[in-house]
């Protein structure tokens, strides 16, 4: 079999078009920026009949040209994807093959965007995202990886090769190499080549997203729970509590992250059971948060309160103990929970990664929540609630927190990106996750040794990580812009 070229036969037509439209985009963008300096802004002329017309002038013309160039590039990219999905191996090349592999992702993305765009006026802040192009690009990138992780990791619809199996003769093969000794029903190509252990780079990149999606959002959520549960009372009560908690937060923040990882995420530390103790404390905070949230809301209706609180605590405690307890843990303390109620075990290695990421992130969240609380507690509606005789926790959780949601949502997006970077850093230094794990940091670390000879095994996961983090940052920027506009 012939090796694949990057764009195959469809490239004969589409490559020149992409080249021209990309060049047009660059030229018009530079022109639009340059013209916005030298020419005046919109001139407004009043017509004799009293109507007003804006004359965009030369810079307006450049802006319109830029818009058309953007559409041309987008249309060409869509053409690549659609053509790649329908034509065969040699017709689509590597790009076409990848487009075909991601078919379920494209369909879900198209459906999500169509539905969201149609109903964007009724969807609140989420709908407003579709008014800003930056926000839409960011959202698209993020959802691409979310769907990839979902379809590849849960439903097994995307990747073609086992990320761990090694095929002889495929070591360090360049992208598009045909699989040596392919059997019927097996995917006949290594689309992005093989790594130095002859594993498929493309499959590993796709499955790497699953690992990031499992850890990063959940760890960020836990960090937020910890930060909110401690930050609200610190800001609201102030005084000694605030001084003490702020000192602790600054203490952790003054620790160089990389040093903390090197001290915490080692096999020796897992042996001592320290991650289990930290998990025991850190994972208690979501439980406290939910408990206090429900209790403060339904305090005056004991029957409803008991019902909701009972359900929440039963589920929460079951999850908490399943997470914290481990029947194979070295310390007897973590084996007291009966095995039949232990729904799942998290391996010590993953637990320590999770715990340390939560630990590093929560002080920053604490500082943000504390600052917001200090600002919001001087508002009139807080004074009104105090006069009504509401409990402090009701005021914190049901008056202050909802009004702090804007900056918190923006920071949540940014922080998932930062957590992804941290996970990559851990993988890059070979800490925590097992060495054959397909997560992006570990794969970059594997690939960097032969980087100057065979760059492809490291470049693919690097670009994947870059696109996800960039997407999250752009999404946060779009959200910030749109929430400020309210």
């Amino acid at each position: 079999m012939e090796p694949l070229t990057w764009t195959g036969n469809m490239g004969d037509v589409l490559d020149p078009i992409l080249g021209i439209s990309a060049a047009a985009l660059v030229v018009t963008s530079v022109l639009a920026i340059a013209l916005s300096f030298v020419t005046a802004s919109d001139r407004i002329t009043v017509n004799p009949d009293g109507t007003v017309a804006a004359q965009p002038g030369l810079s307006g013309l450049a802006t319109r040209a830029q818009g058309w160039a953007v559409w041309a590039v987008v249309a060409t990219v869509v053409a690549y994807i659609v053509t790649g999905m329908v034509v065969g191996w040699q017709g689509g090349g590597i790009v076409g093959g990848m487009a075909r592999a991601f078919t379920p992702v494209w369909i879900s993305l198209a459906l999500l965007f169509a539905a969201s765009y149609a109903y964007r006026r009724r969807l609140g802040l989420y709908g407003k995202l579709f008014d800003s192009s930056i926000g839409m690009v960011g959202f698209g990138l993020v959802m691409f990886w979310v769907f990839t992780a979902l379809w590849a990791g849960v439903f097994d619809l995307i990747y073609m090769h086992d990320p761990l199996s090694q095929v002889s003769g495929m070591k360090n093969e360049v992208p598009g190499s045909p699989l040596s000794g392919a059997e019927a029903g097996q995917y006949p190509y290594y689309l992005l080549g093989g790594d130095n252990l002859a594993r498929d780079v493309f499959s590993r990149m796709v499955l790497g997203s699953t690992i990031v999606m499992q850890i990063a959002p959940l760890a960020t959520l836990f960090a937020f729970m910890v930060g909110i549960t401690l930050g609200l009372p610190a800001g609201y009560y102030g005084g000694r509590l605030d001084t003490g908690l702020s000192f602790l937060a600054n203490l952790i923040l003054a620790f160089p992250v990389i040093l903390l990882f090197y001290l915490l995420v080692t096999p020796e530390i897992v042996q001592t059971g320290l991650p289990n103790y930290m998990a025991l404390v850190l994972f208690l905070f979501p439980l406290i948060f939910v408990g206090v949230l429900i209790n403060s809301r339904y305090r005056t209706q004991p029957a409803t309160r008991n019902l909701y609180l009972g359900i929440a605590m039963a589920v929460g405690l079951l999850l908490y103990f399943s997470l914290v307890m481990d029947q194979t843990a070295p310390k007897p303390l973590f084996r007291v929970w009966p095995g039949f109620l232990d729904l799942f075990d998290v391996s010590g290695q993953v637990l320590i990664v999770f715990v340390s990421v939560v630990f590093v992130n929560s002080p920053t969240v604490f500082r943000i929540v504390r600052g917001l609380t200090l600002d919001i507690k001087t508002r009139d509606y807080v004074a009104a609630a105090q006069t009504r005789g509401e409990t402090p926790w009701y005021i914190m959780l049901w008056e202050i927190l909802p009004n702090a949601r804007g900056p918190l949502i923006v920071d949540f997006c940014l922080r998932i990106g930062y957590t992804t970077i941290l996970l990559g850093t851990l993988g890059f230094f070979g800490l925590g996750l097992p060495p054959e794990s397909p997560d992006w940091g570990t794969t970059i670390n594997d690939g960097r040794r032969l980087l100057s000879v065979y760059p492809h095994p490291a470049i693919a996961p690097a670009l994947a990580l870059l696109s996800l983090v960039l997407g999250l940052n752009l999404l946060a920027d779009g959200l910030r812009e749109e929430s400020l506009r309210d």
Partner: protein
């Protein structure tokens, strides 16, 4: 002002003590000590032998006591047999245990002995730190002017085309961690297979002789990640200044736009970025560790990785003292600098 600095110094010392204690505790956990014993004496020691070996060297005393000894406020461990000192941790090679000083801790300038490099910790740190200082100097030389230019250009006309383009650029740089940009740079500019071959993919030779060819990529990789954040802070500060009343007055007087930016706005807009740049310094440590590993440049970050990877307890403790002190000192400097630069803030 003096009380403010004194109070900050007090908090700083307390923080430094807490942090070094945490590091000491984590590096002296029993599995680490067991590894140390096996490294130093015999790899096939039994568990009892390990315990005796550690006890004979004072490792089994309470952590807080050992921390005090390491710090130099408690006399160091000595073992006596028949009224005579036969072992002292303070004894340097070629010195009998009896004539060794009683105290030998960090405060006495004795930072210990590195088991990996077989050298004095302080000497290693001085040499490696000098390499990293050179790297940081060039990073600052690229990063600070670049970030300020980016931020001022973006912030002088809020919402303009230039602002939106430059803001997207700075978002993109903050979203590119060093291990991603470093890998991409090496592949594009240094790879022997497909790349442009403009620069070298390793910086080992830069330790003796810095050239444009071997130092560009590492410096650029670190500078890029920090640049976006400083640029965004500069932009925020610049947009705030540009909406101030005195700028409007200058405009109404008929001062040209260039004059307003250069003479009126710039000086006030650069107060906030100063703090950010100072606080960014410790964050660069992350980048330094990654870049020194990636480009095989044997500096401070590379030493950290070697010390942590080889269970070199004394060296790791030395590295953490340096990094903790750098973090706290920059925090203090940024606070004091902010008060000095901004005449609106007065601390009684």
């Amino acid at each position: 002002m003096l009380t403010f600095i004194l109070r900050r110094l007090g908090v700083m010392i307390l923080t430094a003590l807490c942090l070094t204690f945490i590091v000491f505790f984590l590096t002296n956990l029993s599995p680490n000590l067991e590894k140390l014993a096996k490294q130093q004496a015999n790899n096939r020691m039994s568990d009892e032998q390990v315990v005796t070996w550690l006890a004979a060297r004072g490792y089994d005393d309470p952590v807080i006591v050992n921390y005090g000894r390491w710090l130099g406020v408690l006399p160091h461990f000595t073992r006596e047999e028949a009224g005579e000192v036969v072992f002292s941790r303070c004894a340097d090679p070629g010195m009998t245990a009896a004539e060794a000083p009683r105290f030998c801790g960090v405060l006495q300038g004795d930072w210990g002995w590195s088991t990996v490099f077989q050298d004095d910790v302080l000497a290693i740190l001085a040499e490696r730190g000098w390499q990293t200082a050179k790297l940081m100097f060039f990073v600052m030389l690229v990063m600070v002017p670049g970030a300020l230019l980016l931020g001022v250009l973006a912030g002088m006309r809020e919402g303009s085309k230039l602002d939106r383009s430059l803001s997207t650029v700075s978002i993109a740089t903050t979203a590119t961690p060093e291990y991603v940009s470093g890998v991409i740079f090496i592949a594009v500019f240094a790879s022997s297979a497909v790349g442009l071959k403009w620069f070298k993919g390793t910086a080992t030779s830069a330790m003796e002789n810095i050239t444009f060819e071997n130092f560009t990529l590492p410096v650029l990789t670190i500078a890029l990640y920090g640049m976006g954040y400083i640029a965004r802070m500069t932009r925020a500060s610049m947009t705030e200044v540009m909406t101030a009343q005195y700028i409007r007055t200058a405009r109404l007087k008929g001062v040209s736009f260039g004059q307003i930016v250069m003479k009126h706005a710039l000086r006030n807009a650069l107060i906030a970025p100063f703090t950010v740049i100072m606080l960014q310094l410790p964050w660069l440590l992350n980048g330094v560790v990654i870049v020194e590993t990636l480009f095989n440049y044997k500096g401070f970050g590379w030493t950290l990785v070697q010390a942590a990877g080889n269970n070199d307890i004394d060296l790791l403790l030395g590295v953490s003292i340096i990094s903790v002190v750098v973090v706290l000192a920059t925090q203090l400097l940024s606070d004091i600098g902010y008060v000095f630069l901004n005449p609106r803030i007065r601390i009684a």
